[in-house]
C-alpha cells in the first residue's frame, strides 16, 4: 500500500539498512525492525521520554522521529550505551549502585538522557534536574536518579 523507503542508519555502531514505510517511527524501527526492545514506548507523544535515544549524539524522543528522516545518521540506544565487553556506562552503573532504578520502564530513557547530560556537561544540580526533566519517572521521585548522575560526573572527572 504505502511506499517503502530505504534508509541506512548506524545503530549502536553497526551500519544497517532498512526498508520502511514512510510513516514508520524511529521507535518502531528500533523495537520491531532492529529488535532492540530496550527502548520503551510510554506515551507515543514525546512527553515521557522512555523512548529517548541519541540521534547523532543528541537525545531525541524516538516516537516523534520518522525513521525515513534518519538516513545516514547515527543512533545510540540503551543497548549501545555500554562499552566493550558489555561494561555498563558509568551512569548506568551509578543508577544500579545508588538505587536509581525502581520499576525500570523509564530507566532506558533515563540512562540515555543522563549519558547525554554527562557528555554535554552541567553546572549544578539544578541544571542537571532541568536536563533530566524530559524524562518522566513515577517511582523514584528523581532523587536517586540525580544522585547517580552527580556521582557519575564526579567519577568521570576523577578518572580523567
Amino acid at each position: 500500500m504505502s511506499e517503502r523507503i530505504a534508509v541506512t542508519i548506524v545503530v549502536n555502531g553497526e551500519r544497517r539498512m532498512f526498508e520502511v514505510p514512510a510513516g514508520r517511527r524511529l521507535l518502531d524501527l528500533l523495537r520491531v525492525d532492529a529488535g532492540l526492545t530496550g527502548t520503551k514506548e510510554g506515551c507515543g507523544a514525546g512527553e515521557c521520554g522512555a523512548c529517548t535515544v541519541l540521534l547523532d549524539g543528541l537525545p531525541v524522543t524516538s516516537c516523534l522521529v520518522l525513521a525515513a528522516s534518519c538516513d545516514g545518521k547515527e543512533v545510540v540506544t540503551v543497548e549501545g550505551l555500554s562499552g566493550h565487553g558489555g561494561r555498563l556506562h558509568p551512569f548506568q552503573d551509578a543508577l544500579v549502585v545508588h538505587g536509581g532504578v525502581q520499576c525500570g520502564f523509564c530507566t532506558p530513557g533515563i540512562a540515555v538522557a543522563g549519558a547525554a547530560a554527562l557528555a554535554r556537561g552541567f553546572q549544578d544540580g539544578e541544571q542537571a534536574a532541568r536536563l533530566m526533566s524530559g524524562n518522566l519517572c513515577r517511582c523514584t521521585g528523581y532523587d536517586k536518579v540525580l544522585a547517580a548522575l552527580e556521582f557519575a560526573r564526579e567519577n568521570e572527572h576523577g578518572s580523567e
Binding site: 530496550g38 510510554g42 538505587g99 532504578v101 526533566s133 524530559g134
Partner: protein
C-alpha cells in the same frame, strides 16, 4: 519460628543494588510489550465514546473484513460468564444492551499487526440510543436521579459512630464547618497496561501480565473462559509501575486477550495505547468531604462529624473496599471522644474509581488536616501544638473505631522528628508581602492501617517456596509482586538474613500462580510484609531438615546451629563452622528434602460494620510530613521546596528501597497537590495524555529529607511495617497547609492549580480588580497553565 532466634549480623537494613536493577538499566528486562511469540496476534478494543446509552446493535462485519484480522468477538463469544467485577457481579467484559461508562467494550479484535487490530476496532459500529447519564455524585444520590444500574446510586454507606455526639457538641468552644472538593488522580505508571495470552492446548491458558495481582487475573480469566482455576496460569511480567492502577484493572485486558487466544488458538498480545489507558483505567476517587468538627478552648477535639462522598464511576470495582479504608481513617491519628462518620460509595457515569496508593485515606487525610489547621487558626494555636494536644500516644491508645492500639504508638515521635528536622519555628505567615513570592510551611499526619481492612481479611494470607539448591544458592518464590516498589530486594534481603547467606546467592522469581498458593493482592503496603513472613515460615521449616545435617558437619546439636555470613556454626563459635553451600551439598547427597513451603496470615479480628467499631486493621504505621512551599500569589503557582518525611517503619529491611518509596511517594503527592487535574466532561477525560495531565518532572521535585523511627513489636518480618502508602498519604495535605500558610487563606479544592488559588484568593488577589468573577470551572485549554515550575526539554 526463625524470628525466635537471636538476630545475626546480615543484610537487614543495609543498602546495595536491587537484583532487578542491572537488567533494567541495560534495557534487557522484557516487559509485556517486548514479548513476541511465533504466530502471535495483536489485540485491540472497540470501546464506547459516550458514557451512557442504550445499545440497539453492534455491527462487526466491516471490522472482520479488514485485511490481517483474525477474529472480532462480542459478548456472544464468551464461553463462560461475561463478568469481570472483582467483588460484585456488575461489570460485563463485553457490553450487550447498555453503555455505562466511556470505554465500555463493544467488541475485541485480534489481527496480525497492531495497526490492523486498532484499524479494525475503529470499524466496529454500535447503534446507540442516547440515555442521559449522571455525572454529579450529589445529584446521583438524590431520589429519582437516573440509576446507573437501575436502582439507587448510593451503593453502600459505611459508618463510624462512637461517643455521645450531642453531649460533646455542647462542649466545643469552636466549631469548623467545611466542604472539601478533592480531585481524582491518574496513576501514570510509565508502562501502559498490557498482557500476553498463550493458549496451551487441552483447555489451558497462560497469561503473562503487567499486574499487581496475578490471582485476581487467574480468577477473572477462569470465570470468563469457564475454566477451573488450575487451568489458568498467570505469570507476572516485569511490571513498569502500578500504584494501585494494576490491582483489579489488568483482569480486563487479560480476559480480552485470553478470549481472543481461546478462539484463535494463537498467542495474543494486548498493550493499551496511552490515551485509551488513561481514559478507561481506574482512578483515585474524586471525593467530596464535609466536616463539622469541634474543639474546646485548649484545642482538644470534642467531636467530629464527617460525610464523605466517593464517586465510584459506573461499576463498583474496588470502591467499597476503598471507602472502608477512607471511612475508618477519617479523623486521622487523633483522639476524638465523639465521632460520626458516613462514607458513601456513589455510582455515576464518570471515570472508574479504584485503587490508588493510599486507598481513600489521602482524600480524608487532606480534609482532616485542613480542618485541624482551621481549628488551630480559630484558637490562635500553632498547627503543631494543636496536633500535640490531640495525638494518640502511649497513654491514649483508643482509636475512633474503639481499637486499643498494641505496642508502641509513635504518632508523637514522628511529629517531633519532623518538627526537629524541618526546623519548625512556631511559624507565622511571613509579613513581607511586597513581592509576588510568599512562603509557607505546613504539617500533616497519617495513621495508616497496615495490610487489608477487616472486610478483606479472608484474603490476607501469603505463601512462599524456598528451595536450597545443591550449590548453596537459593530460589525464592512468593505470591506478591514486584512493580517497582522493591519487593524483590525486600524478599531477597529477608531470605538472606534468615538463612545467613549473602543476598547475591538468593534469586527471587516473579510470581506465577502455578508455583505458590493464592497470596491475595499486592496492595495495602503488604507486599514485603506478607511475603516476608511467608519466607520466614518457609525458612523455619527448611531448617528443621537443614539444622540436623549442619549439626553433624559442625559437631554440635541441631538446636545450637546458627547461620550467618554464609556459614553454619555452633552458637557462639563461628570459627568452627562449615559453609551453607557445604550443608546444601551434604543434604543433596543424603537425599534430604531441600524445598520448603511457607505460609503467613494476619491475626483474625472483629469489627462491626454497622457502627464501625472494632479492629479494622491489625496494627498501624504513623507518619508526619512537613512541607515548605513558595507561592507566586500573582500567578497562583506553587513550588514545593522541601518535604520532611518522618515515618514509623518498625524495622528497615532495605534502606535504599525504603528511601526510594518515600521519595517517590512524596513526588507523586506533590503532583496530586498542585498539578494533576483530571479534566472530565460527561465522563470523558479531556486530558488523557502527559501533555495536558501534568506529573512532576525532575525539575519539579522537592528536596526530600527523611527521618525513620524504628521500633520493636510490629507484626511484619523482623518487625517491619509497610511504607508504600504512608509515604504518599500526608503529602498533599502538608503542601495544602503550607500553601494556605503562605497565602493566608483556606484552600478547599484539590489540586491547587493556579486557577483554584487565584479564585480562592478572590478579593485578596493582587490583581483582584482584573480577575473576572464567575469563571469557575477551568476548561481543557487552561490545563497548560497548570504546568509545574520550569520544565524544559533536554536542551533547555
Amino acid at each position: 519460628m526463625a524470628r525466635s532466634r537471636a538476630p545475626q549480623p546480615g543484610p537487614l537494613g543495609g543498602r546495595g543494588p536491587r537484583p532487578d536493577a542491572a537488567a533494567k538499566v541495560a534495557g534487557s528486562t522484557r516487559y509485556v510489550g517486548d514479548l513476541a511469540l511465533p504466530g502471535m496476534l495483536h489485540a485491540a478494543l472497540a470501546t464506547s465514546p459516550v458514557a451512557s446509552a442504550w445499545i440497539r446493535g453492534i455491527d462487526t462485519s466491516a471490522a472482520g473484513r479488514l485485511e490481517d484480522v483474525a477474529a472480532v468477538l462480542t459478548a456472544d463469544d464468551v464461553p463462560g460468564r461475561n463478568s469481570i467485577g472483582v467483588i460484585f457481579d456488575d461489570q460485563p467484559l463485553l457490553v450487550t444492551d447498555r453503555v455505562r461508562m466511556v470505554g465500555d467494550r463493544f467488541a475485541i479484535v485480534a489481527a496480525r499487526t497492531e495497526d490492523a487490530a486498532w484499524a479494525s476496532a475503529r470499524l466496529v459500529s454500535a447503534d446507540l440510543e442516547s440515555l442521559p447519564g449522571v455525572h454529579d455524585p450529589d445529584e446521583a444520590m438524590r431520589a429519582g436521579s437516573p440509576g446507573v444500574h437501575g436502582e439507587s446510586n448510593v451503593f453502600r454507606t459505611f459508618r463510624v459512630a462512637r461517643g455521645d455526639l450531642g453531649r460533646l457538641r455542647s462542649r466545643a468552644a469552636v466549631v469548623v464547618e467545611a466542604e472539601y472538593h478533592i480531585g481524582g488522580q491518574e496513576h501514570a505508571y510509565l508502562e501502559p497496561q498490557g498482557c500476553l495470552a498463550v493458549p496451551e492446548g487441552r483447555g489451558r491458558v497462560t497469561i503473562v501480565a503487567s499486574c499487581q495481582c496475578p490471582f485476581y487475573i487467574q480468577q477473572g480469566v477462569a470465570r470468563v473462559l469457564g475454566l477451573p482455576l488450575a487451568a489458568v496460569r498467570v505469570e507476572q511480567a516485569p511490571t513498569g509501575g502500578a500504584f494501585g492502577g494494576k490491582e483489579d484493572y489488568p483482569t480486563e485486558p487479560a480476559a480480552c486477550a485470553a478470549l481472543l487466544a481461546w478462539h484463535t488458538g494463537r498467542p495474543v498480545r494486548l498493550v493499551l495505547p496511552r490515551e485509551l489507558d488513561m481514559q478507561v483505567t481506574t482512578k483515585r476517587h474524586e471525593t467530596v468531604v464535609r466536616h463539622r468538627w469541634g474543639a474546646d478552648r485548649q484545642g482538644r477535639l470534642r467531636f467530629a462529624e464527617v460525610e464523605t462522598v466517593m464517586d465510584a464511576g459506573a461499576y463498583v470495582g474496588l470502591s467499597t473496599v476503598v471507602a472502608e479504608r477512607a471511612n475508618v481513617s477519617a479523623v486521622g491519628p487523633y483522639r476524638v471522644p465523639a465521632v460520626d462518620v458516613r462514607t458513601h460509595v456513589v455510582l455515576t457515569n464518570n471515570l472508574f474509581g479504584g485503587a490508588f496508593r493510599g486507598f481513600g485515606a489521602p482524600q480524608v487525610t487532606w480534609a482532616a488536616e485542613a480542618t485541624m489547621d482551621a481549628l488551630a487558626r480559630r484558637l490562635g494555636l500553632d498547627p503543631v501544638e494543636i496536633r500535640r494536644r490531640n495525638l494518640l500516644d502511649a497513654r491514649h491508645r483508643v482509636t475512633c473505631t474503639g481499637q486499643r492500639l498494641a505496642g508502641p504508638v509513635l504518632a508523637r515521635e514522628v511529629l517531633e522528628q519532623a518538627v526537629a528536622l524541618s526546623g519548625w519555628d512556631g511559624r507565622t505567615t511571613p509579613a513581607d508581602t511586597s513581592g509576588p513570592i510568599v512562603r509557607g510551611t505546613g504539617v500533616a499526619l497519617v495513621q495508616y492501617g497496615c495490610n487489608l481492612h477487616w472486610g478483606g481479611q479472608r484474603l490476607d494470607r501469603s505463601s512462599a517456596v524456598v528451595i536450597l539448591q545443591t550449590d548453596g544458592s537459593v530460589v525464592v518464590r512468593v505470591g506478591l509482586t514486584e512493580m517497582g516498589q522493591g519487593n524483590l530486594v525486600a524478599c531477597q534481603t529477608i531470605a538472606a538474613q534468615a538463612l545467613g547467606v549473602d543476598p547475591t546467592v538468593v534469586e527471587v522469581w516473579q510470581p506465577d500462580t502455578t508455583t505458590v498458593g493464592d497470596s491475595g493482592p499486592t496492595v495495602a503496603s503488604r507486599g514485603a510484609h506478607m511475603s516476608g513472613l511467608a519466607i520466614l515460615d518457609a525458612v523455619a521449616r527448611l531448617r528443621t531438615r537443614l539444622d540436623p545435617v549442619a549439626a553433624e558437619l559442625v559437631g554440635c546439636t541441631p538446636d545450637e546451629v546458627e547461620l550467618a555470613g554464609g556459614r553454619a556454626f555452633a552458637a557462639g563459635d563461628p570459627a568452627r563452622g562449615v559453609s551453607v553451600a557445604a550443608v546444601a551439598a551434604e543434604m543433596a547427597s543424603r537425599r534430604v528434602e531441600t524445598i520448603a513451603t511457607g505460609f503467613a496470615r494476619t491475626r483474625s479480628r472483629r469489627f462491626d460494620p454497622s457502627s464501625g467499631q472494632g479492629e479494622p486493621y491489625e496494627f498501624y504505621a504513623m507518619a508526619c510530613h512537613v512541607a515548605k512551599v513558595s507561592v507566586d500569589r500573582e500567578l497562583g503557582l506553587v513550588h514545593v521546596e522541601e518535604v520532611v518525611a518522618a515515618h514509623d517503619v518498625g524495622t528497615v529491611i532495605h534502606r535504599d528501597a525504603l528511601e526510594g518509596q518515600i521519595q517517590g511517594g512524596v513526588v507523586q503527592g506533590v503532583g496530586w497537590a498542585v498539578s494533576e487535574r483530571l479534566a472530565v466532561d460527561h465522563g470523558r477525560l479531556l486530558n488523557p495524555n502527559f501533555t495536558d495531565y501534568v506529573i512532576p518532572t525532575a525539575a519539579d521535585a522537592p528536596r526530600v529529607r527523611i527521618a525513620v523511627v524504628e521500633s520493636d513489636g510490629a507484626g511484619g518480618p523482623f518487625g517491619a511495617k509497610g511504607i508504600g502508602e504512608p509515604s504518599f498519604i500526608p503529602v498533599a495535605a502538608a503542601v495544602r497547609n503550607a500553601v494556605c500558610d503562605a497565602l493566608g487563606c483556606e484552600v478547599r479544592r484539590l489540586p491547587m492549580t493556579p486557577q483554584v488559588l487565584v479564585e480562592t484568593l478572590g478579593d485578596r488577589h493582587p490583581f483582584a480588580w482584573m480577575v473576572k468573577s464567575g469563571a469557575r470551572v477551568p476548561g481543557p485549554g487552561d490545563v497548560e497553565a497548570c504546568r509545574l515550575g520550569d520544565s524544559q526539554g533536554p536542551e533547555g
